[in-house]
C-alpha cells in the first residue's frame, strides 16, 4: 500500500516536472503558433540562476522569481530582435532560427558557467521527508507538485477566464481585427514571449533541485518538453497538462515494473497516441501560417 502510494507521488512529481518543462513551450506554441526551440536554454539559464542564488545565502524563495526575471529578460531581448521577424514565417524557418540560437546559447552558458555539473542547495526548510506508511517521500517533491499545480492553474485561469487571455487568443485568430480595436498586438506578443521564457526560467530553478545544472541539460529538457507538448496536441493547453500526467505516470510505473524498458514504454505510448490521435490528446484547429 505505502509502496504504491509513494510511487504514485513519485509519478505525480515527475509529471509536474514534465509539465513545468512543457508549460512555457506550450504557451508560445498554443497562443502564438511559434515554435521556440530555445526553450531548453531558458530552462538551463533558470537552473544556473537558481543554483547560484541558492548557494549565495540570499533568501532562498527569491531564487524562483529571480530566475523568472532573468529568463524573461533574455526572452524580451530575443523577441525584440530575431523572433519578431519570424512570427509570420513557416514553422520550418522558426525551427531553424531557434535551434541555431539554442546552440549559441549552449556555448555562451558553457563559457559563463563552466562545464562542471552544479547541484542546487535545496533550502533547509524543504530538505526533509515525510513518511507515508514507513516509506520516505521528499518534501521538495511535494513542493514541486504544489508549485506546478498552482502555476498550471494560474495560467489556465488567465488564458481561459480573463479578458487578457481573450485578447491574446483573439490576436492569434485575427491580428488585424484586434489592431482595429486599438490594441497593440506587438506588445501583447512580446508579453506572451516574456512570460513563456520566464516560465522556462522558473521551471529550471525549481527543477535544478532534482536535475542539477550542466551543459546538455538544455537539450534533454527540450526533448522532454517537445514530447509532452506534441503528445498533448499542438494548440491546446489542457492537452499539455493531460499528456504530462499520462507520460509521468507511464514513465514512473514502467520504471517500477520493467525498469529496463522504461524509455521504450514511454516513447511507445507517445507513438501509439500520435498514431491513434494525430492531433494529440486534445485537438484544436491550428492555423498553419
Amino acid at each position: 500500500m505505502g509502496f504504491y502510494a509513494v510511487q504514485s507521488l513519485n509519478a505525480l512529481s515527475f509529471s509536474m516536472l514534465l509539465l513545468l518543462t512543457g508549460l512555457g513551450l506550450s504557451v508560445v506554441l498554443n497562443l502564438m503558433n511559434f515554435v521556440n526551440l530555445t526553450h531548453g536554454s531558458f530552462f538551463l539559464l533558470g537552473a544556473y540562476v537558481g543554483v547560484y542564488w541558492l548557494a549565495s545565502g540570499a533568501p532562498w524563495w527569491l531564487a524562483f522569481p529571480v530566475a523568472f526575471v532573468a529568463a524573461g529578460l533574455a526572452g524580451f531581448l530575443l523577441e525584440r530582435f530575431p523572433f519578431r521577424q519570424f512570427y509570420a514565417r513557416t514553422h520550418l524557418m522558426q525551427v531553424l532560427l531557434t535551434y541555431g540560437l539554442s546552440v549559441i546559447f549552449a556555448d555562451l552558458m558553457r563559457w559563463g558557467f563552466g562545464a562542471q555539473i552544479l547541484s542546487a542547495e535545496i533550502p533547509e526548510a524543504l530538505r526533509g521527508v515525510v513518511f507515508i506508511m514507513d516509506m520516505p517521500f521528499p518534501i521538495y517533491r511535494l513542493f514541486i507538485i504544489g508549485f506546478g499545480a498552482a502555476l498550471a492553474f494560474a495560467l489556465w485561469f488567465v488564458i481561459d477566464r480573463t479578458i487578457w487571455g481573450a485578447v491574446v487568443r483573439a490576436c492569434v485568430t485575427d491580428r488585424g481585427f484586434v489592431e482595429t480595436l486599438g490594441l497593440d498586438t506587438r506588445r501583447i506578443f512580446t508579453a506572451v514571449l516574456v512570460i513563456s521564457a520566464g516560465l522556462g526560467g522558473i521551471s529550471g530553478a525549481l527543477g535544478a533541485g532534482i536535475l542539477s545544472a550542466y551543459p546538455g541539460l538544455d537539450e534533454e529538457v527540450l526533448i522532454l518538453a517537445l514530447i509532452v507538448v506534441v503528445a498533448g496536441g499542438l494548440g491546446t493547453f489542457r492537452g499539455t497538462v493531460l499528456s504530462a500526467l499520462l507520460l509521468g505516470f507511464a514513465m514512473t510505473f514502467s520504471k517500477v515494473w520493467v525498469p529496463e524498458f522504461s524509455n521504450v514504454v514511454a516513447l511507445a505510448i507517445m507513438a501509439a497516441l500520435l498514431v491513434a490521435l494525430p492531433e494529440g490528446l486534445v485537438a484544436r484547429k491550428v492555423r498553419q501560417v
Binding site: 509519478a11 562542471q116 555539473i117 520504471k255 525498469p259
Partner: protein, 401 residues
C-alpha cells in the same frame, strides 16, 4: 647492459654521421625526425554528455606537457586536440583526420568505451601508436586487443571484480542489490561485480537498471526503500551519478544503505565536488585516488591549477602524458620503429600517478593497483576519496577469458 650497448653505439654513429653531413647535404632522415616536433593527437569529448570529463582530460594532459616545458626526449611537442562529442562515428572521423591529415606520431585520448571500440580498427589499420586514456571496455583487452594500442587505464572488469571481492569480505554475504546505468559499461561493471560476488558465495537480490540520462530516480529509490537491502552495488557516471547520489539523500537512503560502486560513481572532481556531503560514506573501487601515495604531488599541483581535487579523467590525461613520455624517452625520441617502441614500453613498468604501471604483453593492457576508496571528510570539511585498501597489480583475464 650487453643489450643496450649496440643500441647506443648505433645511435652514436647515426648522430655523429648526421652532424658531419648536415652542413653539406641537409639533415638525413633520422636527425630530421628527431628535430621535427613530436605531434600528439588527443581526441576527447569537449561537447555532448562527457563535456566536463573531456575538459579535465585535456587539462591533465596539458598540465603534464607544461611541466615538461613542452618537450619530450628533447623534442618539442605539438598537441592537437579534437572533440569526438562522445559519438563513435565522430571519433572515427577525428582519428582519420589526425592520422591522415595532420600526420601525428601518436594518437591518444577517448573517454567513451563505444568510441574506443569504434576507432580500434582505424588505428590498427594505420598501425598507429595509440594510447587509450579512459575508454575501458573489457573487449579492448580481450578479443579486440591490437598490437600498437596501449591502454594506460583500467578495464571495467578490474573495478567490478575487486568490488565483488571487497563486498563479499567486508559488506555481507547476502542482502545485496544492484542498480546500474543500462548501457554497455554499466552492464559490464554490474555483470563483473555479480560474477565475482557470486563466485565467492554471495547472494544477489533484485537487480535494477536505469536508462542512460535518467532524470528521476524516485521510482527506483522507492523500490530500494521497500526492498531494504544491506548494501547496493551501483554504476553511474557523470550527471547520472550526481542525480542518483543527490536523490539517494533526498529519499533518506544515504547512510541507511551502504553504497559501493565503480570509481565513476564517486569521481572526485566530477561527482563528489558536485554532490558534496551526499557522497559521504560511499565506497568505490578505482584505479585512481587523489589520496594514493603515487598521486600526492600531482593532487597538490592539480588543485592549485584548477581549484578542485583531481578525478579520474584529469589524472588519466596526465598519466597518458607520463606513459607517452616513458615510451618516447626509452627510444630516445625516435618513433620510426614501432616494434621497438612497443618492446621498450613492455620492458619495464612506468611510474605513474595511478601507481606503478606494467603493461601486459598479451594485450598491452595496463596492470594496475586498484584502490578501495571511502568518501570521508577531508581538510576543510570537503568530502575526499580516501584509500582504505589496495589490491596490488590487478590484471585483466585478457584474451583467454
Amino acid at each position: 647492459m650487453t643489450e643496450r650497448f649496440p643500441l647506443s653505439r648505433r645511435n652514436f654513429l647515426a648522430t655523429a654521421g648526421a652532424t658531419a653531413l648536415s652542413g653539406a647535404i641537409g639533415a638525413p632522415a633520422l636527425a630530421q625526425s628527431a628535430n621535427r616536433p613530436l605531434k600528439i593527437g588527443l581526441v576527447t569529448s569537449l561537447s555532448g554528455p562527457f563535456t566536463a570529463l573531456g575538459e579535465s582530460m585535456r587539462a591533465g594532459m596539458q598540465m603534464f606537457l607544461a611541466e615538461n616545458g613542452g618537450k619530450l626526449a628533447g623534442r618539442a611537442v605539438e598537441l592537437i586536440v579534437e572533440d569526438d562529442q562522445a559519438k563513435p562515428d565522430e571519433g572515427v572521423r577525428k582519428f582519420r583526420k589526425l592520422l591522415g591529415q595532420d600526420n601525428v606520431d601518436i594518437v591518444s585520448g577517448v573517454i567513451s568505451s563505444a568510441v574506443a571500440l569504434a576507432v580500434r580498427d582505424v588505428v590498427t589499420e594505420a598501425k598507429a601508436l595509440t594510447f587509450i586514456s579512459a575508454g575501458s571496455a573489457n573487449d579492448l583487452a580481450r578479443k579486440a586487443a591490437s598490437p600498437f594500442v596501449f591502454r594506460p587505464t583500467k578495464t571495467n572488469w578490474m573495478l567490478g571484480h575487486t568490488a565483488g571481492l571487497w563486498a563479499y569480505e567486508k559488506l555481507g554475504k547476502t542482502g545485496c542489490m544492484t542498480i546500474g546505468a543500462d548501457y554497455a559499461a554499466g552492464r559490464e561493471y554490474i555483470g563483473d561485480f555479480v560474477a565475482t560476488y557470486q563466485q565467492q558465495g554471495g547472494k544477489v537480490g533484485k537487480q535494477l537498471w536505469a536508462p542512460l540520462g535518467t532524470t528521476d530516480f524516485g521510482p527506483l529509490l522507492t523500490t530500494i526503500a521497500a526492498e531494504k537491502p544491506e548494501f547496493i552495488y551501483s554504476f553511474f557516471a557523470g550527471s547520472d551519478a550526481v542525480r542518483f547520489l543527490r536523490q539517494m539523500r533526498e529519499y533518506r537512503l544515504s547512510g541507511k544503505v551502504k553504497l559501493i560502486g565503480g570509481g565513476a560513481l564517486f569521481d572526485q572532481e566530477d561527482v563528489v565536488s558536485a554532490v558534496k556531503e551526499a557522497a559521504l560514506g560511499g565506497l568505490n573501487t578505482c584505479n585512481q585516488s587523489p589520496t594514493a601515495p603515487s598521486s600526492a604531488t600531482f593532487t597538490k599541483a592539480y588543485q592549485a591549477a584548477r581549484n578542485v581535487m583531481p578525478g579520474e579523467m584529469g589524472t588519466a590525461g596526465y598519466v597518458t602524458g607520463q606513459v607517452i613520455k616513458a615510451a618516447v624517452e626509452r627510444v630516445e625520441g625516435d618513433l620510426s620503429n614501432k616494434e621497438k617502441v612497443k618492446e621498450a614500453l613492455l620492458a619495464k613498468e612506468v611510474e605513474t600517478v595511478f601507481g606503478p604501471m606494467p603493461f601486459d604483453p598479451r594485450n598491452n593492457q595496463a596492470i594496475l593497483d586498484i584502490y578501495v576508496n571511502e568518501i570521508k571528510e577531508g581538510t576543510g570539511g570537503i568530502p575526499v576519496n580516501q584509500v582504505i585498501h589496495t589490491y596490488k597489480a590487478v590484471r585483466d583475464p585478457g584474451p583467454v577469458a
